[in-house]
Symmetry: D2
């Protein structure tokens, strides 16, 4: 078995997580190099994961004998980097979403289509989480019957507000639908196998009016209508006082499944004057630690066998989710239903 020679682009919070995971997948991949602009990040990755540091990502792609690359840059860079890497003959794992600017994404789409023998996988890692996997299995096995309604929450902890404001002041996050709700948009598509027909989205910043000054909002609610009157409600937000609230529910005709209702990160229950108290999950890397590893393993396997992962999201998934997120954004601006 030959290992896949790989490099990573981006050593921010999630980029570092991916890079660490790549360093641990010793059987599947050989991690050669990483790109970042920040010296401290490069030093850390070099010391802990043995990567060769680069401050020029094109140079890294050109010089290293790579089979594949993992891109975790700010979203706006995804199209250019993906296109460059594909043209250089690499398989590409790219963080979600595809991009922010649709013109740039168009180019990316062409690049992916022009290289049909190269794997392109998008980082919708929730699909790989054991709970979502179990939901999918039950649904496909008919154990939940037909889907009547779906609900998804993805609310970041208020504790991350300050750093988000700083980030979003300097960068275009893409907004609450493109940046956050897109995970659940993808899941709704994955579970139903359908694209919505109509979308009505509404946003507010009641809790955090300061977000509007930087072109952001706190809460986004997107209602998606599918064939036969099936609906999905997706709520994304940035200000949960209790933690990182990621919840998903499928209301089926034979049974419902709810994921993340009480996401206790460990197994303790307190009985105190406050009542019955359980901790709540604080960070998404902790919540999805297994999924983050599994999606990279699936990518490595896909590269090895030469055909895409059945679970992993592909170009079309990325494109459709992006369109729906865009439509949600437009719907929220107009405060009216937008048809797809």
């Amino acid at each position: 078995m030959t290992k896949i020679k790989i490099a990573s682009i981006g050593l921010g919070r999630l980029g570092m997580v991916h890079t660490q995971h790549l360093s641990e997948l010793k059987e599947e991949v050989e991690l050669l190099a990483s790109f970042a602009l920040d010296d401290a990040q490069l030093d850390y990755a070099k010391e802990h994961f043995g990567i060769k540091p680069y401050k020029d990502w094109k140079k890294m792609i050109d010089e290293e004998p790579l089979d594949a690359i993992v891109i975790t840059s700010p979203t706006a860079f995804h199209p250019e980097m993906t296109t460059y890497a594909l043209n250089a003959g690499l398989h590409v794992f790219c963080e979600k979403p595809l991009g922010i600017n649709m013109d740039a994404v168009e180019e990316m789409v062409h690049a992916v289509k022009d290289h049909p023998n190269q794997i392109f996988q998008l980082g919708f890692m929730r699909r790989f989480d054991p709970s979502y996997q179990e939901a999918k299995r039950m649904l496909d096995a008919g154990e939940l019957g037909e889907i009547l309604y779906l609900r998804a929450y993805g609310i970041d902890p208020i504790s991350g507000m300050e750093s988000f404001v700083k980030f979003a002041s300097d960068n275009d996050s893409g907004g609450v639908f493109l940046d956050m709700a897109i995970h659940d948009i993808d899941l709704v598509r994955w579970f139903t196998g359908q694209n919505p027909k109509k979308v009505w989205a509404v946003t507010n910043s009641i809790a955090e009016p300061k977000l509007e000054a930087i072109g952001e909002v706190d809460i986004g609610v997107a209602n998606l209508e599918f064939e036969r009157g099936m609906m999905a409600t997706i709520v994304a937000g940035r200000s949960a006082s209790h933690g990182n609230h990621v919840e998903f529910e499928i209301m089926g005709s034979k049974g419902w499944i709810r994921i993340g209702q009480e996401a206790n990160p460990h197994y303790s229950t307190l009985f105190t004057q406050k009542g019955i108290v359980k901790p709540y999950m604080q960070s998404f890397p902790e919540r999805f630690s297994q999924a983050f590893v599994a999606e990279l393993k699936a990518f490595a396997e896909a590269v090895k066998v030469g055909s895409p992962s059945e679970i992993g999201a592909n170009l079309e998934d990325g494109l459709e989710s992006l369109k729906i997120a865009e439509v949600a954004k437009i719907s929220a601006e107009k405060d009216e239903i937008v048809s797809l």
Copy 2:
């Protein structure tokens, strides 16, 4: 202390519950008579609650020395009965909703307004449930911060489908919004103190296509937009496989409260080959047994002191909820947003 002389109209499922409760409120009321068309119901109520049976409700109102009446007839009769009772000088407790036909409701509205010194209370009993009471207290005390989003589920058990189909084949239930969602429409108004600006509702009968043949639907999802982009999602339905799923959530800027997440009717947990298993509430009279008593107590107290219950729903509450339910129905028919 003089007891309130009272009679009940209707001895169906809920009417019998009310009549029993009236018979137990010995300190507050003196239950004199009940009206029903069904002999078996009348016999049962006579034997167990000592009522004088009537098969003519007008005669009962005319002949009995009543102070007040509790109306639990099919919705379409509410306006006429309420009006007649008010004109006869009685205080009226009427089940929700006000009515089905808006013209008839108009008359009822006039009757209530014409008798400002008589109590009129509408049967939105959930307001009296300890969990909803606690949510209201926390909200009013500022403990939840500002409301960012609300979600309500009211899904009847599939086990009741057959009897509902029979009922709805012979009667106009009012439909999923008027008959079912209206409880949560009232609660959303009660918690927020606001009326929605826009509504988008969608329905489906994916699980139970036969409902469409009798002019009904299974699932109704109503999305309500309020000032500042605050939204509420209300899901009503008739086909939960696990029981009577009544859930309500307030997402607040300082904390969330969720009611009915795991409505275990008692206190047992099983550990078996199936996993960790808890029973789920099967019937609404069981779920809201305390609330049903409390709302009648509040009505009796209101009659006694001569001013309406602060918690109980009044005419305006009934009217606004009805309008919203109507708008939801229209929105679902047109599949578009309707403004109020």
Copy 3:
């Protein structure tokens, strides 16, 4: 149907609860009179439940045309009152335990045996709670398999400590096993159908050393060994910071049932900075409100049909539980195993 003419002895906390329930069981009983020493209690009961007040319980038994009596006096009075009532021809419902002094209890035993046609029921109400009923049903149906181990907690809230200290300073509570653990001793006997062979009990007052000054303890742990090495652990206590923690577990070979694991008195869950928070049951009258009514109904039914309730505890149950509690007390004093 003739109603049972009944009176109540004792209008303390639990006595008032019983008296109220008797007043509400209108179909089954006619509540005539109540005995108490306290004027305020008598006045309250007279006003609310329409009882004829007595400050001399013998006089009440002698003068009123009673069929039955409900005794909720301090434990030490149970034997004398029960004996007197039985001799007066009354059916007796007596609060647990039978008594404190074994000589007095002997007399009571004789009185009960001398009046085999009069119902004697002991107030082990937990047997009537829906959760315990369900456990019994499952066990009898073989759904839990054979019992391998049992565990019971009965811990009073620390909030009641002050009033308990006051009470126990003036009265003989009987101690932690006789006063508290006896409920679970009864349940263990009820579920297993066995009496234990050996007992080892240990007590401590680590949390509340002041209890020792008045001859009480805080925590009592009794380990009971049954045939074939089956064990039960019963923990009674007086200082739970979170509420009234009543929990019971049957570890069966086919499944386990646990009652009261998270005894949320209503249906709310909070998500706040403290985590996921649920309230905990604070009072036993609230926890066992249904059971308290059901045991009186069963008593009334037993009187009516002339044979004891199948669920209700009888003299032997009371006697055996008392012996086991006594043995636990002795075992704790000696800190050694005591055989029965």
Copy 4:
């Protein structure tokens, strides 16, 4: 930083888990070799973890340039292997318990004491689990007040019965206290900082009488009395129908903490005709995956800095736990209290 050169002894279920973890701790250790008798195990470990295979453990210790060794052999071999490795100058991580035969353990004790500069750490991994860590932190910070009572369950799934019977037919497992309860014996000592004064243990095989034919039992209940009347109840067993039930509770004067009450391995809740259903943890490697890694990291760190881990169990912990387990075994045989 120099990496610790390490080898593993034993490639059974847990031995393979340890070996995999060692292979992943790339920054801390360099995994050189493994010993096993089984060729398939050696082949698997060679292929996946790159170890050099040995079928003679002494030879492996003699020939490889090792700093440390991880011993996961059957318990009876622990003393000899530990002694040999210590004498060869190696640091030793040894699975619990120390051994089965006390004479052999005596030798081991001398060996550890004779090499005070070599790290010896025992595999009580539960101490490293985040939930137990949190309990310890709260306890040490005074947040739970003083300990009033402790309870521990460690019940293996019935699904493992067949393979256990096969194993125990050929090997001396040590019995339910030495093999299973010892984890909780260690935890009780760790949390309380005390050794018990008295023990009463009882066993049964009601569910699985066949175990007695091979000198084993199904259920073991050990009651431990500590200073001031504090008690601990430890229940170990082999036949839970629902999974691997590992639960631990500290009843404190200020609050209780309960670990593993509903050990859902992921985050899903089902609502079906069966009620509210959550999966239960099936395997201990899954339950303690983080702890197994953390204890090896702590061992590597201890070796590196030259002083034992503060959390990890040392020789005395192993010795005292072993004594208590032995006393429990004797108590169960005699069915009487045994003092320590």
